[in-house]
C-alpha cells in the first residue's frame, strides 16, 4: 500500500520495498507523483538516477558467445561421457588412472618369517605321524579270512607257508539260481545311471547329448518334422560331419575269408568271383534316420520332447551322453522367432542330434 501524501513536513522514510517499486517502475504515474511528493527532498532525484541505471542494464542485449565455445563444451561433453559422468556417477578428485602404490608389507612378511620355523616343524611332525600311521596300518592289517582258517588248522611251520603262499584260485561253480541272476546283476551294475533332466540339459549345452529313439511306428515322423507349433524343432537337415560322426564304424564281417587277399586272374576259370558273400547285418544298418533337434533349455521342453516322441512314434526315448562334444550348428534365423517375444520369455536354445531307428 503506497503511502499517501500528507501535510506532515517530515514524512516517514520509504522502506526498501516501496523504493524498489518506485525504482523498478511498478507504480502508475499518479502513484509515482504522490510518492515523490511524500518523499524527502532529493529522494526523487536519486530514484530517477536509479531508474536510469535500471533501464540501461535492461537495455543490454545478450552478447554472442565465442564461436569455439560450442566445440569446447562438446569436447568436454565427450570427455565426461567417456568417464560415465552423464549417468550421474560420482566424480573422484583423483584422476581416473590408478598408479601402483609403493606399499611396504614389512609387518606381514616379518610375521611370516617369525612363523616359518614353527610351520616347518609342524609340517615335519605331520609327515612323521602320517608315515607312522600308514606303515602301522600295513603291518597290523589282518590276513584274509581263508588264510587264517588254513593257518589255524595247520602246523606252525605250515602257517608261515600258508601266509607266504598266495591262495590258489578256486573255480566257483555257480548254482542255477546264481547262474540265472548273475547276468541281470552284471547288467544292472554295468548300466549307467539314468540321466537326470538337469544332466541332460547340461549335456545338451555342452553338445554331448544324443537322443536315441527306438520307434515302433515311424509313419508320423514327417509330421513331427514339419510341425512348427512346438517350442522345439526336429530337422532332418543334418550336416554331413555330424552324420558321419554318428554313424557307427562298420563291423568286420564274420566271414574270415572275405578279407583274405584274392590271388586270381582277371579272366578265365580262376578269375575273381564277382559275387559278394551274404554278410551279416551290420549294426549301423538298423539306423533309420539322423535328425537334429533344437529346443529351449528348459526341463519343460525336455518333457515335451520325450512325450511327443514316445506318443507319436510309439518309441522308447533314451538320452545318452557322448564322450566328445559335437560341432553342432547354431540355431538358424528362422528358429529365433522368439526374439519377437518379450525379453522375459527369452530362453537359451540348445541343439542335440537324434537317432531314430525302427525296432
Amino acid at each position: 500500500m503506497p503511502p499517501r501524501p500528507s501535510s506532515d513536513p517530515t514524512p516517514p522514510p520509504l522502506n526498501e520495498e516501496h523504493m524498489l517499486e518506485w525504482i523498478e517502475g511498478r507504480l502508475s504515474r499518479i502513484e509515482e507523483s504522490n510518492r515523490a511528493a511524500a518523499a524527502r527532498p532529493g529522494v526523487a532525484d536519486r530514484v530517477r538516477q536509479m531508474q536510469a541505471n535500471c533501464r540501461a542494464l535492461r537495455a543490454l542485449g545478450d552478447e554472442r558467445a565465442p564461436a569455439e565455445l560450442m566445440e569446447r563444451v562438446l569436447a568436454a561433453l565427450e570427455r565426461e561421457t567417456l568417464l560415465g559422468l552423464t549417468r550421474g556417477e560420482e566424480v573422484s578428485d583423483h584422476p581416473p588412472i590408478s598408479f601402483p602404490a609403493h606399499t611396504v608389507t614389512k609387518s606381514g612378511s616379518g610375521r611370516l618369517e617369525r612363523m616359518a620355523p614353527g610351520l616347518a616343524l609342524a609340517a615335519g611332525l605331520l609327515l612323521l605321524v602320517g608315515g607312522a600311521v600308514y606303515w602301522g596300518s600295513l603291518l597290523i592289517r589282518p590276513a584274509p579270512r581263508t588264510d587264517r582258517t588254513l593257518a589255524e588248522n595247520a602246523a606252525p611251520a605250515d602257517v608261515r607257508i600258508a601266509e607266504a603262499t598266495p591262495p590258489e584260485p578256486t573255480e566257483v561253480v555257480p548254482t542255477p539260481e546264481q547262474a540265472s541272476s548273475e547276468p541281470v546283476a552284471t547288467a544292472l551294475a554295468a548300466a549307467p545311471a539314468p540321466l537326470t533332466d538337469d544332466r541332460i540339459l547340461q549335456l545338451a549345452r555342452e553338445g554331448r547329448l544324443l537322443i536315441h529313439v527306438r520307434a515302433g511306428d515311424t509313419r508320423r515322423l514327417a509330421q513331427l518334422e514339419s510341425d512348427t507349433t512346438r517350442t522345439w524343432r526336429l530337422s532332418g537337415d543334418v550336416p554331413p560331419e555330424i552324420a558321419s560322426v554318428l554313424q557307427p564304424a562298420p563291423l568286420k564281417p564274420l566271414d574270415p575269408l572275405h578279407n583274405q587277399p584274392v590271388i586270381a586272374g582277371e579272366s578265365g576259370p580262376s578269375r575273381r568271383l564277382d559275387w559278394e558273400p551274404d554278410l551279416p547285418m551290420f549294426e549301423f544298418q538298423r539306423i533309420r534316420e539322423t535328425y537334429l533337434i533344437d529346443f529351449p533349455d528348459t526341463q519343460r521342453s525336455l518333457a515335451s520332447i520325450r512325450a511327443a516322441l514316445a506318443d507319436r512314434l510309439r518309441a522308447e526315448v533314451e538320452f545318452e551322453e557322448l564322450p566328445e562334444p559335437l560341432p553342432l550348428p547354431r540355431p538358424e534365423a528362422d528358429a529365433l522367432l522368439w526374439w519377437t517375444l518379450p525379453p522375459s520369455t527369452w530362453t537359451q536354445r540348445v541343439t542335440a542330434p537324434v537317432i531314430i531307428e525302427s525296432r
Partner: protein, 225 residues
C-alpha cells in the same frame, strides 16, 4: 541527469506470473531426450543457452576469455548434474543458478587470492578499482541502429560502475535487470530468502548509483577500463 525512460523497458517483469511456456516445455523435452541417452540433444541445448550464459558471465567478470571459460565450466556442471535436475524450478533458472555459482566462486577465489598478495599490488587508493582491473572490460557490442547515443553512453557508464560493486550486489542486479528474473527466481538462484533479495537489490541499486556518480566525478583516465 534526468533520464527520459521508456516505461515499457521498466515494466515489472518480476511480478509477472511464470506459467510453463512453450520455451519451458521445449527445455524439458531436451532434458528428457538427454536423459534417455540422445546425445544429439546436447548441441541443441548448448546453442539455445550459450549466449545467455556467456552474457551473464561477461557481465559478472567483464572479460570475454574468462567469461568463455566460466561458461564452459557451467556447461560441464550441467552435463555432470543433468540427472539431478528435478523440475521444481524452471530449467533456465537452474542453468542460471549453476552459472552464477560458477562466477561467484571464481570471483570469491580471486578475491581471496588477491587479498593474500595485496601488498604487492597497487596502492591502497586504487584498491577498489583495482579489484576488477584485471578483468578487462570489453564491451564489444555496438549500439543497435536507431538507439540513442545517450543510452549507449549510459550503458557504458553503468557497466563501468557495475565493476565497482561487490560480486553479490553485481549478481543480484544482473539477475534482476539483465536476465529479468523475479524476486522468487533470484532467491532460488542465489539461495537466499526473498526478503534478502529485496534488501540486497536495493542496496545494490544504491551502490550502483553512487558508483556512477563517483565515476562521473573522476577524470577520464582514472576510470576502470
Amino acid at each position: 541527469m534526468f533520464f527520459h525512460y521508456n516505461r515499457s523497458t521498466l515494466l515489472p517483469k518480476h511480478h509477472k506470473p511464470h506459467p510453463p511456456t512453450d520455451e519451458d516445455a521445449y527445455d524439458l523435452q531436451l532434458v528428457e531426450a538427454i536423459r534417455a541417452g540422445n546425445m544429439q540433444a546436447w548441441p541443441a541445448l548448448i546453442s539455445r543457452y550459450q549466449d545467455r550464459l556467456f552474457s551473464t558471465c561477461l557481465r559478472m567478470v567483464h572479460n570475454r576469455e574468462l567469461a568463455a571459460d566460466l561458461t564452459q565450466d557451467a556447461f560441464v556442471k550441467v552435463i555432470q548434474h543433468i540427472n539431478s535436475f528435478d523440475g521444481r524450478a524452471k530449467f533456465s533458472t537452474w542453468l542460471i543458478r549453476i552459472t552464477m555459482n560458477v562466477c561467484l566462486s571464481r570471483l570469491r577465489a580471486e578475491k581471496v587470492r588477491r587479498a593474500a598478495s595485496l601488498d604487492t599490488l597497487h596502492d591502497s587508493s586504487n584498491n577498489q578499482t583495482d579489484s576488477f582491473q584485471r578483468f578487462d572490460f570489453e564491451q564489444t557490442k555496438e549500439p543497435a541502429a536507431g538507439s540513442s547515443v545517450e543510452l549507449h553512453e549510459d550503458q557504458e557508464r553503468v557497466l563501468s560502475a557495475l565493476r565497482l560493486l561487490e560480486p553479490d550486489q553485481r549478481a543480484v542486479l544482473i539477475l534482476c535487470d539483465c536476465r529479468g528474473l523475479s524476486y522468487e527466481q533470484i532467491s532460488e538462484v542465489l539461495g537466499v530468502a526473498v526478503g534478502t533479495v529485496k534488501s540486497r537489490l536495493f542496496r545494490a541499486r544504491t551502490a550502483l548509483r553512487d558508483a556512477v556518480e563517483s565515476l562521473a566525478r573522476k577524470p577520464e583516465h582514472s576510470r576502470p577500463r
